[in-house]
Amino acid sequence: MTTRRSPRTANSRYRRYLRRALTTALSIALTLLGLAALTFLIGRLLPLDPVVAILGDGASEEAYQAMFEKLGLDQPLYIQFFRYLRDLANLDLGNSLTTGRPVLEEIARVFPATIELATVAIVFGAGLGTPLGVVSAMYRNSIVDNVVRVTSLLGYSAPHFWLGLMGLSIFYAMLNWVDGPGRIDVTYEFLLPENGTGFLLIDTALAGDWAAFGNVVSHIFLPAVILGFGAMAYISRMTRSFMIEQLSQEYITTARAKGLSRVRTVWFHAFRNVGVQVVTVIALSYAFLLEGAVLTETVFAWPCFGRFLTNSLLAGDMSSVVGCTLIVGIIFISLNLICDLLYLVLDPRTR
């Protein structure tokens, strides 16, 4: 008997890929457009007058009019939207109403801190969450399983900023095991190189300044653990769910019938088969850390993206807020796209 002869020749397979890529690109472009429209609308809904925000209350009539025209506010709405899109295409998100500098520059300044925190948090969360999820599924309904489930339940039922507050008061104020708010002690801050990467862990390590490095670690520990705890809760729960589904499949029985050990069956067969799903979950958690980070960063006085967003919000700096929202939206969409691509690449059944 021969194998099923595939009607797809190499040529038409490429054509299928191309078509799929095009439709995906179109879909993303549309979503991005909608994103821009949404942020534009939010910007327009403001009760704040952007002219007043720049010039202050006491501006004269002519100055007001001049600024009004300069900002293009006299044009009809669709032209304003068009200009908005054009600016976006030029990577111009406007200027911050509080500092006057370009929004993109401000975001670029604060972003590394966010990435550093998010990365350390996800390493902790995924590194702990994934094996816990697997073990939990292996020994289903045992004590280990129940402990893991309860812990992760608490992990995503608790408000993270509250965990941050309690963590600070217990581990910093009372026990003094870790350092408090901020990324690094003031004493070390002046020793940092001007043009570093922005990633303090890397900068201090590269400079060989281990005292400063230790200080950075001590500052990043608590916020990273707390953020990571939330991620760990989600990741372990999802991993457990995926693994339970796999472990009930027939091919697991086959593997055991071959004489494979339980460990190999679970890790080499079942876990490999959920690999893509787990990576997707981790990627999404990474994106969500941006959200949880907004509040945790406020608690820990972390000078980064979330704080920039919140401060802009409270100051009424809408160009910054709109710019930030747009960036976040783009990040989310990109991460989703990467996950879809991963599925395509790693699962032979989709090819």
């Binding site: 008997m1 021969t2 194998t3 099923r4 027939e250 019938a257 071959k258 004489g259 032979p348």
Partner: protein
């Protein structure tokens, strides 16, 4: 017949505990030598569970008790998990029903066959690969090199099942348990898969336990037939003597099968008698040769 390979005496399988306990297998006893034994029964008769219990692959909620469950002198119920791992694949193997589900979908066919061999024999990867290719050839797969690199979803059901056979026979076990090996295949493919299996079993002198719901199929293929009903063996008879079966359930099964050479207007339906649940096995002794 010389000493039997597998001896089972009074096997009981209970799922769960207390009020919700399900007594799936209730006192099953039989022997298997170097022959082909078929176990026939409807859904819920306990036939699949018996097969898995032999390999100690039952779900964790199951309680297995037997007076005796010996394989080649080894008491299977007393073996530790590590000892069972030496037996599984190496001495007793199992073929499952549907290759769509019973093969790892994300692993190449060749790698899965190689794994089956390397678990029990420490050889180089190259040698294991050569053996796997030879085995794929033995199950009559043409173009072994190409199939070696395919994924399970890229081959047909019949080929997938032959891959399964190759995978389970490559470590050269003494006995194979086939759990509904052809039930998921098209009728036209069944005969081919079975003939491949038959040839390999004969070449190596491997024993077979063939679990199925299809009495016709089992009667043609096997030497001996065990009919199971409600967790018990109701009749144990040689395949060629099946027409001489005594138990009303067996007779009912036989009568409900249409035959081309004996046309009937109305097929009889099985009338179940509650007595069957607890009746002793009707054992037809093997003929002395």
């Amino acid at each position: 017949m010389d000493k039997p390979l597998l001896t089972i005496e009074d096997l009981h399988l209970v799922f769960g505990q207390g009020q919700n306990a399900v007594h799936a297998v209730r006192g099953v006893s039989f022997n298997v030598g170097r022959e082909k034994v078929g176990i026939v029964g409807e859904s819920g008769s306990g036939k699949s569970q018996t097969g898995r219990a032999i390999m100690r692959l039952s779900p964790s909620t199951v309680n297995i008790v037997a007076k005796k469950m010996d394989f080649d002198g080894i008491p299977l119920l007393q073996q530790t998990e590590r000892q069972m791992r030496q037996i599984r694949g190496n001495r007793i193997s199992m073929i499952l029903q549907d290759p769509k589900f019973s093969l790892n979908p994300l692993m190449r066919i060749g790698d899965q066959v190689v794994e089956a061999y390397r678990v029990h024999h420490k050889v180089s990867r190259r040698e294991a690969r050569a053996r796997a290719l030879k085995m794929l050839d033995a199950v009559r797969i043409r173009d072994c090199e190409r199939v070696f690199n395919l994924y399970p979803h890229e081959v047909s059901g019949g080929m997938g099942q032959r891959v399964m056979i190759a995978m389970m026979l490559i470590p050269e076990p003494d006995m194979i348990i086939a759990d509904e090996p052809t039930s998921a295949l098209d009728v036209s493919v069944r005969k081919q898969v079975l003939s491949v299996l038959d040839e390999l079993l004969r070449q190596r002198g491997t024993a077979l336990i063939f679990i199925s719901h299809d009495l016709n199929l089992v009667a043609e293929f096997c030497d001996r037939v065990l009919v199971m009903y409600a967790g018990r063996v109701v009749e144990d008879i040689a395949a060629r003597d099946l027409h001489k079966a005594i138990h009303p359930y067996t007779r009912g099964l036989l009568d409900s099968l249409p035959k081309l050479d004996q046309p009937r207007d109305v097929l009889s339906t099985l009338q179940r008698d509650p007595i069957w649940r607890d009746a002793p096995t009707i054992f037809h002794p093997r003929e002395v040769r």
